[in-house]
Symmetry: C2
Amino acid sequence: MAKEPKTLEDLFHNTLKDVYFAEKKILTALPQMAKATQNADLEAAFEKHRRETEGQVARLEKVFAAIDKKAQGKTCPAINGLVEEGGEIIEEFKGSPALDAGLLAAAQAVEHYEIARYGALIAWGEELGLDGAVSLLEATLEEEKATDKTLTKLAEGVVNQEAEQEEAA
Amino acid sequence: MAKEPKTLEDLFHNTLKDVYFAEKKILTALPQMAKATQNADLEAAFEKHRRETEGQVARLEKVFAAIDKKAQGKTCPAINGLVEEGGEIIEEFKGSPALDAGLLAAAQAVEHYEIARYGALIAWGEELGLDGAVSLLEATLEEEKATDKTLTKLAEGVVNQEAEQEEAA
């Protein structure tokens, strides 16, 4: 059987499945990160982003519907690796003043991955004329960028505070 | 033996080892991506970034020296996953008009990961007063951001061109 040449539609669908898997994985990781942090603001930020991520999963399901495909994930080794790194930080820095700085950095690496992925999906969706899908993806991209900014602000506070604790110790 | 509490210095060193591993992994992946692409501009961009990455590895070795540590990598599951995804695109989209768009997106996901990691290292380095290390890390961060911009521009051209090829086919 000759293989059909793969098109930009296939790439869009392929990456959509990758991101769907990633968002669901993030949904399982965020409560662990919220539980691990020693900082109330960071805990609240992880909780808030967990709720947002539920909405992002629902949006992705609408994007699948818009291209007449079944919502289905595809194992995404990148997010598995990113989440594994967050887990390593929790394990190695448990009880340490640097834990929160490490958790924040791990969360920002995840956000940057998502920003890259949604950016690509939006560019391809525009080229394919998938206007409805593009609007949904743009709404999520804005949330991811806002989360990244929130994490950057929290990181500045956390890193300063922890460095002071170390000096005082 | 009681474990020493881990500090921001430990987190900096830990993440430096992670990024050192990542840059070396990227050095092996870029020639494969350059070989796979059908686009001469993209091939040149991957080649150029490979040469830059060699310089970035050398800079990281200077950062290790600046904190009196041996240059040493630590397995980074995130970069392994990101590079694996690039490999999947090469395999699944070989000979397809969408291959280059997929390669570009995979490369941008790697750049975003690096931008997140260098951003964290710079913030921690500033807090720790590691001025020399921070300058080196900032030089690399600027290169990564410039590469990301180059890839975005190339992506716009590649995606348009490939969509037109599909229409003409």
